[in-house]
């Protein structure tokens, strides 16, 4: 009991400290983004209105956007709005950026979570298989495949899938999140598959899942291959550790040594890389989203960039930053749960 309370208290302290650190990082990030948006050449008001807009309109907008104030003042205005969740209007959609993000972020999350599950399950399974049958044909095959996976960018997979399964064979739907005419489930989480299941609309769930497969797999293959390689390398490395020899020397059967005593320490690097890949995929998905016309946040962000829609650009980067930082905290928590040494080190420093 005492130990549990202690552990909880330590967890609380850890989270508190990480959150404080994160706020500093986010603050710095906001300055960085603001700098990119304002200091680089070009007049945001002119950009927003287009080259043909009359000068008076531009001047009025400049006034509205506080562009005539000094940069630090501009920054405070901008930050104040951002903290209230107000990132201004999007030039692309002509809606509030916050509304846009609320719509597009769940679509991206659904895609990335689906890809993440594939990555983790596939990567660990392939890596373990490869390490277990090291130097056999299974191992060699997996290694060659994972090499191919690592060096091929996701958008090339996406194009090939689209070509083969979408267009040539026509097995899977290749555009958007749902087919036309399929009823949308009531909005709860924003993830259509989950919402459909919650509402019991199995047909919708099935359709949404089919839409997920191609972009999800295209996105997952790269990180899956990466995970498989890391898992294999760590396992092969740990297999030569003295503690494995010691456990074998004690007469513990091979199946227990491999499945328990080897697996757990070997998962630590895999998991830490996975969580970071997961967050990075949110941004790296933009070409996959473009190719499959998936209404996700990074496609939105890139469109905003191509149109120089500064409000949307800053908001998207900030949101991705928040997700990235959160995932970093999750990594620390998960790795801490797996590895007592890290837990102990953290405990010693409070």
């Amino acid at each position: 009991m005492q130990r549990q309370a202690d552990a909880l208290r330590r967890l609380g302290l850890f989270l508190a400290r990480r959150l404080v650190q994160s706020i500093f990082v986010l603050f710095g990030l906001s300055i960085l983004i603001f700098t990119i948006a304002r200091v680089l050449p070009g007049d945001p008001a002119r950009t927003a209105l287009g080259a043909r807009a009359p000068q008076e309109t531009v001047d009025r907008l400049r006034e509205e956007m506080h562009l005539n104030d000094t940069l630090p003042v501009q920054y405070t205005y901008w930050l104040g709005d951002a903290l209230r969740g107000d990132f201004g209007m999007s030039l692309v959609t002509r809606r509030s950026v916050t509304t846009d993000i609320a719509e597009f972020l769940p679509a991206s999350l659904e895609l990335v979570i689906f890809a993440g599950v594939l990555t983790l399950v596939g990567g660990i399974a392939l890596g373990t298989l490869s390490a277990r049958y090291k130097d056999s044909w299974v191992d060699n095959l997996i290694r060659i495949l994972s090499y191919a996976g690592v060096v091929t960018p996701a958008f090339i997979f996406a194009i090939i899938f689209l070509l083969v399964f979408g267009l040539a064979l026509d097995w899977l739907p290749s555009i958007g999140r749902l087919s036309e005419g399929v009823p949308k489930p009531p909005l709860v989480t924003g993830l259509i598959t989950v919402d459909a299941l919650l509402a019991g609309q199995l047909a919708t769930f099935w359709d949404a899942l089919q839409h997920l497969i191609m972009p999800g797999v295209a996105l997952a293959l790269g990180s899956m291959a990466q995970e498989a390689r890391i898992t294999r390398a760590t396992m092969a490395d740990n297999l030569n550790k003295d503690y494995i020899a010691a456990e074998r020397a004690l007469g513990i059967p091979e199946r227990v040594v491999m499945g328990r005593f080897l697996l757990k320490p070997s998962l630590i690097p895999t998991i830490s890389i996975f969580a970071l890949d997961f967050a990075a995929n949110l941004a790296n998905a933009f070409l996959v989203e473009l190719i499959f016309n998936w209404p996700g946040i990074s496609r939105y962000g890139v469109n905003a960039m191509l149109r120089k829609d500064l409000n949307a650009i800053t908001a998207v980067i900030l949101i991705l930053g928040v997700v990235f930082i959160l995932m970093n905290i999750v990594v620390d928590l998960v790795v801490g749960a797996l590895d007592p040494r890290i837990r102990l080190r953290a405990a010693r420093s409070d």
Partner: protein, 312 residues
């Protein structure tokens, strides 16, 4: 390395001071070291394959005008009579929708891919390494805090999205794409080098140099830096591949190399419109990207194996 030949032998001791002989011995030692390293590297056929790929691609990129069957197709050029020809005798990889030879354009595409990689790395590596080195050596001081907090901020967003943002604010062209990628890439070197430097600063050879009275410059560049050449080189080789991918992603959305200049990403993007019927327009440039990345990855892995074997 265990070696029998180093038994003390006093008889020849003094003769080594002859500068001529000295230089000779040093040359011989260097040759032996390279020979041994090459022998180990060449044990792994995949590493050698990677090296061959990288060298071939580089040579093709440099001599593109002589290697490509139709060098003029890399410039503004149309030949509607031969548009959208499938791969075959005259055009090995086929032609695109306005009749340009895809093979020639891919060979020129290597050029821009490599230029981008080399330019980005030669900007990013010195800056990133220097900052990491200084921060790592002065660990725990205000210098460390400033450098590493700034680095953390850059690392708090996926690098691609920031590069896209910067590139989009600037004029879309190759130079600006390289600048944008460089701006986001240095922190990864800073972080790598920081970790290495803060471990190396506690090694006793660094402490020794300090107790002897060596200056900071000597310690940073003569004692610490040479000991992290291998991880930096390995990362550089792997990063060449990444930069090529990122470059192609930027060109895909129109933020990199501008048409009609043949960027591999641009070509894939343009070709994607003609799927699935004229598949070769998109697929061959895509394969070209994969080949470049594969070459550098194989080379990078080979280097890593070589270095880790050197150390044990």
């Amino acid at each position: 390395m265990l070696n029998n030949a180093s038994q003390p032998d006093h008889a020849v001791g003094r003769s080594a001071i002859d500068p001529h002989r000295l230089a000779q011995i040093e040359r011989r030692n260097r040759r032996e070291r390279w020979g041994r390293a090459w022998y180990k590297f060449s044990r792994n056929p995949l590493s050698v394959l990677g090296l061959i790929m990288v060298v071939t691609i580089t040579l093709m990129a440099i001599f593109a005008p002589f290697v490509a069957p139709y060098p003029q197709h890399a410039e503004p050029f149309t030949d509607f009579a031969n548009a959208s020809k499938p791969p075959g005798g005259q055009y090995l990889f086929g032609t695109d929708e306005i009749g340009r030879d895809i093979l020639s354009r891919c060979i020129f595409g290597f050029r821009y891919a490599l230029v981008m990689g080399v330019a980005v790395l030669s900007l990013v590596v010195p800056v990133g390494v220097l900052l990491g080195l200084v921060a790592g050596y002065f660990q725990g001081t205000i210098i460390d805090t400033i450098i590493m907090r700034v680095t953390d901020i850059f690392l708090s967003v996926p690098p691609l999205i920031l590069a896209l943002a910067v590139a989009s604010v600037l004029q879309p062209n190759l130079t600006n794409a390289m600048l944008a990628v460089s701006l986001m890439w240095w922190p990864w070197y800073t972080r790598l080098v920081y970790g290495l430097a803060s471990a190396l600063r506690n090694e006793y050879f660094v402490v020794s140099a300090e107790t002897i009275g060596a200056g900071t410059g000597h310690i940073l560049f003569r004692e610490i830096l040479p000991n992290m050449v291998s991880p930096i080189l390995t990362k550089m080789s792997l990063d060449m591949g990444w930069v090529v991918i990122i470059g192609s992603m930027l060109s895909f959305v129109g933020l990199g190399v501008q048409p009609p200049t043949p960027g591999l990403g641009t070509m894939v993007a343009a070709g994607a419109r003609f799927l699935p019927d004229q598949w070769w327009i998109a697929i061959f440039p895509a394969l070209a990207i994969v080949v470049v990345v594969l070459g550098f990855n194989l080379l990078g892995d080979g280097l890593r194996d070589l270095f880790s074997a050197e150390e044990s």
